[in-house]
């Protein structure tokens, strides 16, 4: 059976909780929870047939990652937001266009209902083989 995905523009950025928890410690569960989700609008959640809190796979040409889906407050179809951090970086680009700055924003992505039963293992990212 082919997978049904939704095309989105993925952007990453800061959140208050990401800031608070990184000050507690980068290896804490609180930090992991604060950076391992994607915000999607209601229509996208409906199209995927999932509820907020379900796991989704975010896929770009640079990689894929399984994170928790949250409903965005802004309700903007087509926009997916991930807090900056190791999960978002799995699907963002190292192409700096000769400026030093990677492509952390406005990345074409697809979101699928995840087959996995847990979010991606952060430990594997550090080894470079997520």
């Amino acid at each position: 059976m082919s997978r049904v995905g939704v095309k989105v523009t993925l952007t990453s950025g800061r959140t208050l909780l990401q800031g608070r928890t990184l000050e507690e410690g980068k290896l804490t569960d609180a930090y992991r929870d604060a950076v391992s989700y994607v915000e999607l609008d209601g229509a996208t959640l409906d199209a995927l047939g999932i509820e907020p809190g379900s796991l989704v796979e975010v896929e770009t040409i640079y990689g894929s990652v399984v994170v928790t889906a949250k409903k965005s407050r802004g309700e903007e179809p087509g926009i997916a937001f991930m807090p900056c951090g190791p999960y978002a970086n799995t699907v963002t680009s190292d192409d700096t266009q000769e400026t030093g700055m990677p492509s952390f924003k406005s990345i074409e992505a697809q979101v699928f209902k995840a087959d996995a039963s847990t979010i991606s293992d952060i430990e594997k990212f550090v080894g470079g083989n997520p």
Binding site: R14, L16, P86
Partner: protein
């Protein structure tokens, strides 16, 4: 609650580029027990500074970190640096200025590259400014004078939580009623938390910042646009925006990573600088980057003072050369060009794209940081240090360029030194090694 034994006032918070210097820190029995005036992140920084610390200097042996003395860790660090052919020194934005000086000395002595975290935040801002000029002004000027404030590609409620309450939604000398006398706009691709607090939210399509800014410039110069909308914004709305900007008495454009990390990067900033220049033909306008790390602005300044360049500096030829895209950390790591890294007060393993992690996992890393993080898990050498602004003093630079003195509030854990002292030890030992 018992009364605090000692209260430190006017303490700068060392989290974001606001460097809010009105924090009250309550100390009991050598521990921080209370914070007043700080935001949620500030409270976390001060009250939880002792949690998840790197407890001892350590060296990776057989895949495990084993505790060693500080001297042993420094010796190992020097061994790695001395044998490296292409050393990358990275970080610096979350430590104080004196530590920067020692890092530049090591870079020069080792013939390495020294880059700071601005290469992945406002590096494009610096490139844009180098193209078109720098607007400068103080945050106090904004508070006292600005009647039109624009946040562009920035979400201050998440990243700079007190920026609005300290500088833009607050009364000033010529702004008696900040809700009536001052308008705040947000331009962004999504309705962030900040969108709900501003007077006007302008939504643009992702990656269209350059087109929108260029259109604003064209309209300001009296040109007619042959389209109905730009970046999803009707031209009539852009014209209204231009009219309001032109009629402001003092306007300020605060811009974030929505501009620097998006398509166009430094060209977005270049265009924004030129828009501000154009507006100054009619009225007073200024612009300011929303700097993230508390001393990333300082890292750019100290790097410029010491090496001549703000970031991405290579000493391989014995003198400093500057080339973003070549000597920037992400490019060097993604291309696998470096064979050792000295990481100071940053966590590249958590914040760099996946392609960089492969190199990070293959090269020796000397990690100097107060806390455990993803980079410390990979590091060959870890050296714990004091938290600047809490456990040692120093100087840092606010987003508007104002240098502030950081206080020492409490003692660091026993045997733990400031970054500057650890880096000074590495430099002295490396100097002897190089002379052999």
């Amino acid at each position: 609650m018992t009364e605090a034994e000692k209260v430190f006032t006017d303490v700068p918070c060392t989290f974001c580029g606001c460097l809010c210097d009105d924090i009250e820190v309550e100390v009991n029995d050598g521990k921080i027990v209370g914070i007043k005036n700080g935001c949620a992140i500030c409270k976390s920084r001060f009250l939880k500074h002792h949690e998840n610390r790197l407890e001892h200097p350590s060296i990776m042996k057989d895949g495990e970190q084993s505790s060693v003395s500080l001297d042993e860790a420094v010796s190992k660090a020097v061994e790695i640096i001395a044998s490296a052919r292409r050393l990358l020194i990275y970080g610096l934005s979350s430590t104080e200025n004196d530590a920067h000086r020692e890092a530049y000395k090591i870079a020069e002595l080792a013939g390495g590259v020294v880059d700071n975290t601005s290469s992945v935040c406002h590096g494009p801002t610096i490139l844009g400014v180098q193209e078109s000029g720098e607007a400068a002004g103080a945050l106090a000027e904004v508070r006292n004078r600005a009647d039109l404030v624009i946040y562009w590609g920035s979400n201050p409620l998440a990243a700079h939580p007190r920026h609005i309450s300290r500088y833009t939604r607050v009364a000033g000398e010529y702004i008696k009623d900040p809700k009536k006398d001052r308008k705040i706009w947000l331009v962004d691709i999504r309705k962030s938390e900040t969108a709900r607090t501003v007077d006007k939210f302008i939504k643009l399509q992702p990656g269209t910042d350059l087109e929108v800014i260029s259109s604003l410039r064209a309209l300001l110069r009296g040109h007619r646009l042959a389209v109905d909308e730009v970046g999803g914004i009707p031209v009539s709305e852009l014209q209204e925006a231009v009219d309001a900007m032109k009629n402001a008495k003092y306007g300020i454009l605060f811009f974030g990573l929505g501009l620097t990390q998006s398509k166009g990067r430094f060209r977005n900033i270049d265009a924004a600088v030129r828009l501000i220049q154009d507006l100054n033909s009619y009225t007073k306008w200024n612009m300011m980057p929303m700097r993230g790390h508390y001393n990333v602005s300082g890292a750019n300044k100290t790097s410029t003072w010491q090496t001549g360049y703000p970031y991405a500096v290579d000493f391989a030829r014995g003198y400093p050369r500057y080339q973003p895209g070549e000597y920037t950390a992400v490019d060097l790591l993604a291309r696998g060009e470096v064979d050792a890294m000295l990481n100071i007060a940053a966590d590249p393993a958590a914040h760099f794209p996946k392609a960089c992690l492969k190199t990070l996992s293959q090269i020796p890393i000397i990690n100097i940081d107060p806390k455990e993080n993803m980079t410390s898990r990979l590091a060959t050498v870890n050296i714990p240090v004091a938290v600047a602004g809490i456990e040692c003093d120093g100087a840092a630079v606010r987003m508007d360029g104002l240098p502030l003195y950081l206080h020492k509030i409490i003692d660091p854990p026993e045997g733990v030194l400031p970054d500057r002292d650890v880096l000074g030890m590495i430099y002295k030992k490396l100097e002897k090694e190089v002379k052999k």
